[in-house]
């Protein structure tokens, strides 16, 4: 199994190198092929893993002087998340093939090698991060993903996008100091970088390590006070936003924190309080910031911020002893990846066909392009948490888990109520835009839209299906 996991990390990386070396015209195909291969590897891995009874396994890859520097671990959570991030990476590669061409109304483009090279590298880095069992490994892939994201956000090379890219990089880099601290403290206390050692730390050290990781996680997952890079990162090409800022990179934060909690053997309550309180504050802030947004992608960016807050809320609640909240957070990570990717890709398809992504200009999408209309509705409802779409199921678990532990902690009850209100609020807001955008007579921009390329259609349909199925997959997988 380790071979497959390694393959899923190395294949895209090799792909990136090949893309950099081969002519521009081949970059598209190469990117898609390698992402596809990695996905295939992971699917086989997932199959073998579940057939083998889902027994977690760890493998050291690089050791030095008896200390594990880099190791990869296969367990239920990592396989699930890896399948999502790599699989979506593959979908995005396909979509990008259609999106980045001269027919794009918003950003006509010839595909530069840079795009697929960094995208491939990013996929590899994400897989690496997901499977990594050492803090150092996480830190390394964390930073690599940061660089790739920087390169991809600034892809269009406009001053604004370059500025946004630098901002994203710097802010996440500052936050990554948390991971530096965590790794250092861990190493100095235990002489190992293995995540599993967190459980053996003294209470104080554990608190420091977890809080430090939490800070890094906030940075990557765009939580207050590090959130400001994400809305600006919408300068990226839309498939990139979909992948990095919905499915994968922003999840890194949640994921590393989840991993730390998993191996912490019971985290101090302080960590739980910090995590939940900040999550709630971000939740409210993100919601308020929905209101003035007209740019669809910016709206989605804020929505991503709040959805990530739900995950942090779940993780924070799990500190108080709720396994259900933890599973909910992981499932939400998985579900949200599909739903938000779909939503971003709809935004991308809209700007591809109409040349704008300003919501006020987009009306009557359904009659012009039923697929986009349906996808829009599905994505919005999934994000808003309406069954049978996936968002509901994981949010439900988070809340259920929360109420489970809130009885003993009145403050948590308050936070949960705020979160519930927020969920109603964001539901209202998305419903409003669904009502505005999807039904009715097409607006000028929409009426003049060009058709959606086939590759993009296929990806959208796949994601619509996943937006319904993913929660069941996650639920079955996580047990």
């Amino acid at each position: 199994m380790i071979a497959l996991a390694l393959a899923s990390i190395l294949l895209p990386t090799v792909g990136a190198a090949l893309i950099a070396l081969s002519p521009r015209s081949a970059s598209k195909r190469l990117g898609q092929i390698f992402a596809g291969l990695a996905t295939a590897c992971l699917l086989v891995l997932a199959y073998q893993f579940s057939v083998g009874g889902k027994i977690p396994a760890e493998y050291s890859v690089i050791n030095f002087g008896g200390v594990e520097i880099l190791g990869f671990g296969v367990d239920t959570v990592s396989v699930l998340v890896a399948c999502a991030v790599v699989g979506i990476g593959f979908l995005i590669s396909i979509y990008s093939g259609g999106y980045l061409d001269a027919g794009n109304r918003e950003h006509p483009d010839i595909v530069r090698r840079r795009y697929f090279a960094f995208l491939s590298l990013f996929i590899g880095a994400m897989a690496g991060l997901v499977f990594s069992t050492t803090v150092i490994g996480q830190l390394v892939f964390f930073e690599i993903s940061g660089v790739c994201s920087w390169a991809l956000i600034g892809y269009y090379e406009k001053p604004k996008s370059l500025y946004s890219a630098a901002k994203a990089l710097i802010i996440t880099h500052i936050a990554s100091l948390g991971l530096y601290v965590a790794a250092s403290v861990m190493f100095l206390e235990t002489h190992t970088f293995a995540l599993s050692a967190i459980g053996g730390l003294s209470e104080t050290a554990k608190t420091i390590v977890l809080l430090a990781i939490l800070v890094a996680a906030w940075g990557k997952s765009a939580q207050l006070p590090f959130h400001m890079w994400l809305p600006d990162a919408m300068e990226a090409p839309t498939p990139v936003s979909a992948y990095l800022h919905a499915a994968s990179m922003v999840k890194v934060g949640v994921y590393i924190f989840a991993r730390a909690l998993m191996s912490s053997n019971g985290a101090p309550e302080l960590v739980g309080y910090v995590c939940t309180i900040m999550a709630t504050i971000t939740l409210v802030y993100g919601f308020i910031m929905y209101l003035p947004q007209c740019d669809m992608k910016r709206l989605l960016a804020y929505s991503t911020i709040t959805q990530l807050s739900y995950m942090f809320l779940g993780l924070g609640l799990s500190v108080f002893g709720s396994q259900m909240a933890f599973n909910g957070a992981i499932a939400h990570l998985f579900n949200h990846a599909f739903a938000k990717t779909l939503f971003f890709l709809v935004a991308g398809a809209l700007s591809y066909t109409t040349g704008t992504r300003m919501l006020p200009l987009l009306r009557g999408v359904l009659s012009k392009s039923p697929l986009l209309g349906i996808a829009f509705v599905v994505a919005a409802l999934a994000i808003a948490g309406v069954p049978p779409f996936n968002g509901f199921f994981s949010k439900f678990a988070i809340f259920a888990g929360g109420f489970e532990v809130a009885q003993q902690h009145p403050l948590l009850m308050v936070l949960l109520v705020i979160a519930l209100l927020e969920s109603v609020g964001s539901f209202a807001w998305f419903l409003k835009w669904v009502g505005w955008t999807v039904p009715g007579r097409p607006s000028e921009a929409v009426a003049a839209a060009s058709p959606v390329p086939l590759s993009m259609q296929i990806v959208l349909i796949t994601l619509i299906v996943m937006a319904v199925c993913s929660s069941f997959i996650a639920a079955i997988w996580l047990g």
Partner: protein, 671 residues
């Protein structure tokens, strides 16, 4: 087949119909037929399933499902069986009706309509049979979702905005319900309703759960003040869907209140009953008053739904008072009244919506002021609508009368003995019911008169023709049901009484021909609708017979001439319009209408605050950015620029730096 299997088959049918319709959406006629037929079969199967458990032990199906925290459990007991039966009945009729009616929507997506319609029915059925909080919520939301798409089907501004409010209120309600369920689950340690039933949470938690579910389900039921969505959403949906929404879906709200407060929580807190009673009274009175002021037929019907929900809640509330005060008679009577009215309202409101739909099918307008004289062109529709109108106006011997009569009985029974609070509340409620009944009559006199009698007030009204057979069949079936449920009350009452008893965990009461005998005073509960019918028919036919017998001699002296209208020929403009008809009432109840204005003003105020919040957010969004990122960059740049002065380019300065560094370090060292 066991009822559970029947139910599953019914659900499967619904889903097949739904997806079939979607897949066939290119071939519209096929889609319509497939959706209708599938819906009909599903409804019949479901109806049989529901009917077969009305008097029997609960049946439970427990499937693990993918979610570890919640098993997928179906529980078919008397109450849910009743609900399934009601849903199925109306769904069957609506399916029949849809064969013709949906053609109206040709080219506008009949495939998806069939999809959502069938999904809507299936999710309603699942809501009532789900026996796990999680799945309950899932289906509750799916029900809202499916109906949301039906509401916005016209895709115009009004429909979309109505749909928005509808779905928002429903979702907010479901969140409240969810919170309540979570609190329960905490006490019970599981999300299964079976576990809920077995636990007794503390009084505070129980009350919080009750309030949350009252809010949540009340919103769904359209009880005042959570009714705002109802008069907008129901008119917007296609009529066969409106019939289901008004006829059944809002009942699920009532069902939920009943389920949570009585079935799950035991319901032995007095103020719960009083609260339900009070809200019911308010809903019924205000509902009918608002209905009076409408001239849009579907809005009018929608407000009547608010009214009737109020009436049902009066019954349920009384029943809850009975439970809390340990008066089995009151409890039983209240439940009986509530459930009976629930069924009845489903039938006649479905009928009325279908009737209205039929009219709209031909008229393409919902404005009653533009109709008139349709009785001549659309006799069947007119007749059915009349039956419905009479039923909703509680005219004996139709079904509405029976259930309202039981409601009165329950209220009086409760008023007879009990605490002061009960003795104070129930008479007021009874008065409210009386007022409601009177105004309802007036309202339907107006509605029927406006639409079907008099002269046509528009060209279209003159040119109307009767609607196609499937629609008529649907309406006739329901009209027959109205009559049947009225006349057959003695047969129906024991069944419903049995359900009420099952809810209350009491032994089924014994019933004799029209007389319900309970441990109480039988004099209060004497009712025989067949007798009433005979009397009423007699009252009408005896004078007619007399007149017929003696009129033969005068017939040939009869002259036909234009009616006298102060010298003018009567024309359509002279007819009383919906507006003018209601004018006295509007004057009389001006303060109550003012409530609506205040509410509107308040909502405007909220909207202003919201706009402020938006602009605040707009200004606030870049603020953090400006406060953190910008200053940091300019700080770094500024410091850098200042530090550049150090690098002045002058060699002697550089040498001095070295000397200074040495001096300082030496000073530190030798300190």
């Amino acid at each position: 087949m066991t009822p559970i299997q029947l139910l599953c088959a019914s659900l499967a049918c619904s889903i097949v119909a739904a997806f079939g319709s979607l897949l066939l959406s290119r071939a519209e006629n096929w889609a319509i037929s497939f959706a209708g037929l599938g819906g009909l079969v599903a409804a019949v199967l479901g109806g049989v399933a529901g009917a077969s458990v009305l008097s029997g032990a609960p049946l439970v199906l427990d499937v693990a499902g993918p979610f570890s925290f919640a098993h997928f459990i179906i529980r078919l007991d008397a109450l849910s069986g009743l609900m399934v039966l009601v849903i199925s009945t109306l769904a069957a009729v609506a399916s029949i009706y849809s064969f013709s009616y949906v053609r109206e929507y040709g080219g506008r997506g009949v495939g998806p309509m069939g999809f959502f319609f069938n999904l809507f029915v299936a999710s309603m059925v699942l809501v009532v049979v789900a026996d796990n909080a999680f799945w309950f919520l899932v289906f509750f939301e799916m029900m809202s979702l499916a109906s949301y798409f039906l509401v916005i089907f016209d895709q115009d501004e009004e429909a979309v905005s109505a749909g928005f409010i509808y779905f928002l209120v429903a979702h907010a309600g479901s969140v409240a319900i969810m919170a309540g369920f979570f609190l329960m689950a905490n006490a019970a340690g599981s999300l299964d309703f079976a576990a809920f039933r077995a636990t007794h949470p503390s009084a505070l938690v129980a009350s919080i759960v009750f309030v949350l579910s009252l809010l949540g389900f009340g919103a769904k039921a359209g009880m005042i003040p959570l009714h705002v969505w109802l008069p907008r959403a129901h008119p917007a949906a296609p009529s066969h869907a409106s019939a289901l929404m008004s006829g059944v879906m809002i009942k699920i709200g009532v069902f939920g209140i009943l389920k949570v407060s009585v079935d799950l929580l035991g319901g032995d807190v007095l103020w719960w009953g009083i609260a339900v009673l009070a809200l019911g009274a308010i809903s019924s009175v205000l509902g009918v008053i608002y209905a009076l002021a409408e001239h849009d037929i579907k809005r009018l019907l929608a407000y009547h739904s608010v009214e009737n929900i109020g009436i049902i809640m009066l019954g349920i509330g009384t029943g809850m008072i009975g439970i809390a005060t340990h008066h089995p008679l009151v409890a039983m009577l209240g439940m009986l009244a509530g459930l009976y009215h629930l069924i009845n309202h489903a039938i006649f409101k479905g009928l009325l919506f279908l009737g209205a739909g039929a009219v709209i099918f031909r008229m393409h307008t919902k404005d009653m002021d533009k109709m008139g004289g349709l009785a001549r062109t659309m006799p069947w529709t007119s007749a059915c609508f009349l039956v419905g109108a009479l039923a909703i106006s509680a005219i004996p011997p139709l079904n509405g009368f029976v259930s309202e009569w039981f409601t009165y009985q329950a209220l009086f029974a409760a008023a007879l003995d009990g605490t002061f609070l009960v003795q104070f509340a129930t008479p007021i409620a009874a008065t409210a019911l009386a007022l409601t009944g009177a105004l309802a009559v007036m309202c339907f006199v107006k509605a029927y008169g406006e639409m079907f009698s008099g002269l046509p007030r528009s060209k279209k009204a003159e040119q109307t023709t009767e609607v196609p057979a499937p629609m008529i069949i649907g309406m006739v079936l329901l009209a027959a049901a109205c009559v049947g449920l009225g006349l057959a009350a003695p047969l129906v009452v024991p069944v419903i009484g049995g359900i009420a008893a099952a809810i209350l965990h009491m032994p089924p009461a014994s019933f004799a021909n029209g007389v319900m005998v309970l441990p109480g005073d039988p004099a209060h509960t004497l009712l025989s609708t067949p007798l009433l019918a005979v009397l009423l028919v007699g009252l009408a036919t005896v004078p007619l017979a007399i007149s017929a017998a003696f009129s033969g001699s005068r017939a040939n002296r009869r002259q036909a001439a234009e009616p006298w209208a102060c010298g003018y020929l009567p024309d359509a403009h002279m007819t009383v319009t919906a507006h003018s008809f209601a004018q006295p009432i509007r004057m009389f109840f001006a303060p109550l209408y003012a409530v609506r204005r205040t509410a509107a003003a308040a909502s405007e105020g909220i909207e202003r605050q919201f706009v402020k919040l938006v602009s605040l957010a707009r200004r606030g969004e870049p603020m953090l950015d400006r406060a953190l990122v910008g200053p940091s960059i300019s700080f770094v740049g500024g410091v850098g620029k200042r530090l550049q002065i150090l690098q002045s380019g002058a060699l002697s300065t550089y040498c001095l730096y070295i000397v200074a560094a040495l001096a300082i370090l030496l000073l530190i060292t030798l300190r």
